[in-house]
Symmetry: D2
Subunit: 335 residues, 4 copies
Amino acid sequence: MIIQLNSTISSTAKMALNEKLAQYGYSHNEVTTQFGNYIIGVGKKSFDIREIGRMEGIKDIHRVSDAYKLVSKKWKVEDTQIDFGDFKIGTGHFSIMAGPCSIESEEQIISAIEHLKANNIRIMRGGVYKPRSSPYSFRGLGMDGLKMFSSLCKENDIKIITEVMMVEQIDEMINYIDIFQVGARNSQNFNLLDALGEVDKPVLLKRGISGTIDELLQGAEYIFSHGNEKIMLCERGIRSYEMAYRNTMDINAIAMLKEKTHLPVIADPSHGIGLRKFVEPIALASIMGGADGVIMEVHHVPEKAFSDGQQTLNYQEAARTYDRMRKTFELRESF
Amino acid sequence: MIIQLNSTISSTAKMALNEKLAQYGYSHNEVTTQFGNYIIGVGKKSFDIREIGRMEGIKDIHRVSDAYKLVSKKWKVEDTQIDFGDFKIGTGHFSIMAGPCSIESEEQIISAIEHLKANNIRIMRGGVYKPRSSPYSFRGLGMDGLKMFSSLCKENDIKIITEVMMVEQIDEMINYIDIFQVGARNSQNFNLLDALGEVDKPVLLKRGISGTIDELLQGAEYIFSHGNEKIMLCERGIRSYEMAYRNTMDINAIAMLKEKTHLPVIADPSHGIGLRKFVEPIALASIMGGADGVIMEVHHVPEKAFSDGQQTLNYQEAARTYDRMRKTFELRESF
Amino acid sequence: MIIQLNSTISSTAKMALNEKLAQYGYSHNEVTTQFGNYIIGVGKKSFDIREIGRMEGIKDIHRVSDAYKLVSKKWKVEDTQIDFGDFKIGTGHFSIMAGPCSIESEEQIISAIEHLKANNIRIMRGGVYKPRSSPYSFRGLGMDGLKMFSSLCKENDIKIITEVMMVEQIDEMINYIDIFQVGARNSQNFNLLDALGEVDKPVLLKRGISGTIDELLQGAEYIFSHGNEKIMLCERGIRSYEMAYRNTMDINAIAMLKEKTHLPVIADPSHGIGLRKFVEPIALASIMGGADGVIMEVHHVPEKAFSDGQQTLNYQEAARTYDRMRKTFELRESF
Amino acid sequence: MIIQLNSTISSTAKMALNEKLAQYGYSHNEVTTQFGNYIIGVGKKSFDIREIGRMEGIKDIHRVSDAYKLVSKKWKVEDTQIDFGDFKIGTGHFSIMAGPCSIESEEQIISAIEHLKANNIRIMRGGVYKPRSSPYSFRGLGMDGLKMFSSLCKENDIKIITEVMMVEQIDEMINYIDIFQVGARNSQNFNLLDALGEVDKPVLLKRGISGTIDELLQGAEYIFSHGNEKIMLCERGIRSYEMAYRNTMDINAIAMLKEKTHLPVIADPSHGIGLRKFVEPIALASIMGGADGVIMEVHHVPEKAFSDGQQTLNYQEAARTYDRMRKTFELRESF
């Protein structure tokens, strides 16, 4: 059960509410975010919730029987949009985030920024902390890379999305990034999710390598319930028995997430199939499946890209794909 | 290696060819279909294939190193189209096959035919032999149902696709159907595939419940190598750990199949997600992924449909979906 | 609900029973096997089943709410044993079935028989019809191979288990085999299961490549409900995302099957891991998991075995494994 | 390639070695642990490694072509044992770690300690930081619980294994625990693995929820390469399509890990199947599969245990299982 509180609710009214919940055997968890105050009641007894709805200081109340609550669509009339001032992510807007797997050099960033600007793309992706299976692999340029990345993007009015891997990195990164990305391997790193709930920056949360939809939504619930409503979910392919591609893009999940949550859903076709020549059809399919945006890997010379060149488009391929994605989105919106 | 023979090749020339292959340690499998004569050579030695290409009676020769040969795109310039006279399935044409899960009654068929005609759909699906997990479930109306189904469709110039489950059924069904469907559970029923290679009717082969792309292509190779080139492949969702939907539609597979084979690829969004409200987005996504057609379940009263009502659209929902599928196909073709 | 009938039940009594079931809205399916007569009632209404239990001609009645009925443990006090005269398969007895993947030659059979006799093994496995992914692969020696196999085994008092792939093969094979094996790919070939229900020979039913426990039990229900109670289930590894081995042996399934069904459960460690050096530990683990027997591949020269040499033990390795399996079984039985 | 250095190696000798590696295009990563000094060379050129073996200060050199190096069996003659003074974990010793899912109260700990002592068990498990899917669930007693847990165990000469979830917790926990456990969800939390490489306490690393064997070994490589050789690996079941149990215990993995690595392998049958009545057969199967020990959940009243009671044994069940596990281990060791 989600109880939305008025911002002016008195402490007496709050106490009365908590007593009422206790009376019905409900636990109450108070949540304060950038945008609202909520009480999450968890319990089993069934009673007429209008009884609470009529109490002082209560804005609205909804039953949400799912394991996730605040990220559910059941209580929120309008889908979440994430506002960057002159553009938005979420319902009605199609977002593209593009860039290299890893930040490598100043030249690389400059080249990518030019490409993005030429294609009207406002968000650049690029890793500076890279999760790598082997400890002997390159693990990213770290903060030095991020500072360079940030300063070049700011000059060009490009927003940055990059992966954060541990709680300690949040503070050092926060002034240099616009969106925190949580990778598939950290999808259930609950301490990291807690901590990202305490900052006022958008978070893109990737589905776990074999995470369920429910786990993804509950992961987002961690962030929301710690105070941050600016969350996007990302389908990036799941691990299946099929070894013909790196991952199996689960477009069912995109369609279903759009039904279950008010949060924007972003598709990652680069990881979702992991093979350059199929990134475009999977991107287009994801849009028809309901995605609000696409995050994809692009590089001036994919063959020389760090770590993930196999799934990276060159600028020309990418430009064609952007165009087709936009047309596909337009057709979908016309339906 | 695939060697295409001229239809006029002399037996002396054939013998010379076989000797040449034997000389290089290659096995030879002769294949005669409705459309051509082929020798499939399987061996390891590498040599200049032009040596064979220059021999008498040889039309063309290609290396095909995949486990599947005749269904590979490597030797065939043009994608396969299946010709039904006044319409075709395959590249450049978008096909819709719709109808109920199971044939239930004359009224049901008549109603479905009207719906199809109103929507310009030429192929009706409907099961008369149903694979059911439990022996105590309804297993279809059998031949009586098929005869009724067939006579009504013929009157209305509608083609029939229906599932065949065993070799013995082929002969009794062949005059009443237009396309044989092989279900997911029979995807590696090799005797059935052999036998379907010996008839001149199109076959739609579904991917196994957790079949790989390679297994699907090798299954099709069974049919082709026994003499029947009229094959369509069907992606119908795979079994994954995600239990939020009946199956996990693998649109990666559609994109990749279109690259690997010259055969038409049909998507089955009804089984691919198994939930009525998501059939449309998955259908549209499949088209953007590269599908040449869609097979889907529709019923005048889905709530009362035999066995699979959960994933079945009503006529109104279906009509909207047909329209959007056609627009999506049109956009894709414009790319 | 399973109603066991007395063999002397009168047709009047049967009619009365069917009327009673109809009255409660239950369907009734009559099953006659080698060993008994049963009525399977399927319905939803709940009533006091003793009302039926007291009727004339009724031996016993049990509720079985699972999708599978006759193969459930809920109605049958004693686990099923399959009786071969001088030995048995099933509870209290440990069975080994060993032999090559494919029957290749007389010499091979003779050599295997000697090996089996030296190790007190009574059942030889060996395929004559082989399901192969590619149509260009060797598909077994067929009936000629089986006749040779059968005559040599009969001389040596060795029983034969071999795979049957299609309904038509049953009649031609039945006099030459002692146990029909249904392979993983035919695990849901329902027509084949129906037909095997109509013969009086034991059937070993393998779990599908990604079959669930429920599907396996329902597959067995097909056989039982068509009249044949002599069924064994076989765990042979499932398809998972882990590619370090051919299949993932699911010993959980063995433990759970022993709880759910009265049928004997056989482990196939050869396919279950697919790598020779690990066949032994997986065999021993399967026994501790509850298996009533093990079927495994052994060959005089595994390196030269047809098709599956990688998972095949030589005689010396096998002899060590038999010994350890027997000791492990003995320890388990002592618990 | 792993080069073991003499502890007395001079810096000149080291420099010469690095020059030699550079000359062949090999990267070198220096690793210093509690027990040794190593250079890990990664490169592609093939040359006679004895050339390096003969250099000053070199103890030994081995090629290791796997992605993981230091945890591979290829360079280490003897399997790793973890020494706790009066007992050891690893080859030749059978270890049991038992206790509740979560530490709940002083009474609970005292009761468990008595149970362990009565059964000669030296290591108690119990979570104080619990990874929970939902943010609204109990997340453990934290450091207060751990201090109580630790003081009671020290009095009774029982060692503690408990889960660490983030880098910041290591320092606060280190004086109160004997073994750090890394849970399945943190199996690829590389920063945590790095940090655990820098302490001198044993680490039990669980396989990811759908982690591969290779990923598990590379995770362990992170710990080893940061300086800590005291590592155990833990198979705890993988995520598969089969929903009849919580996870699918992968005993193949145990058998294969024992072949690939010198590290001890521990089985977790409680999570591996997740159902109380099957914990015992899966524990015994794991031992036959090659496990060096078992970690399992036990509670004085499983029905009231926090969070995971479904898979928790009571003391009587557990005592029977310990006894049978020890007998099974004894039989295996006799082979």
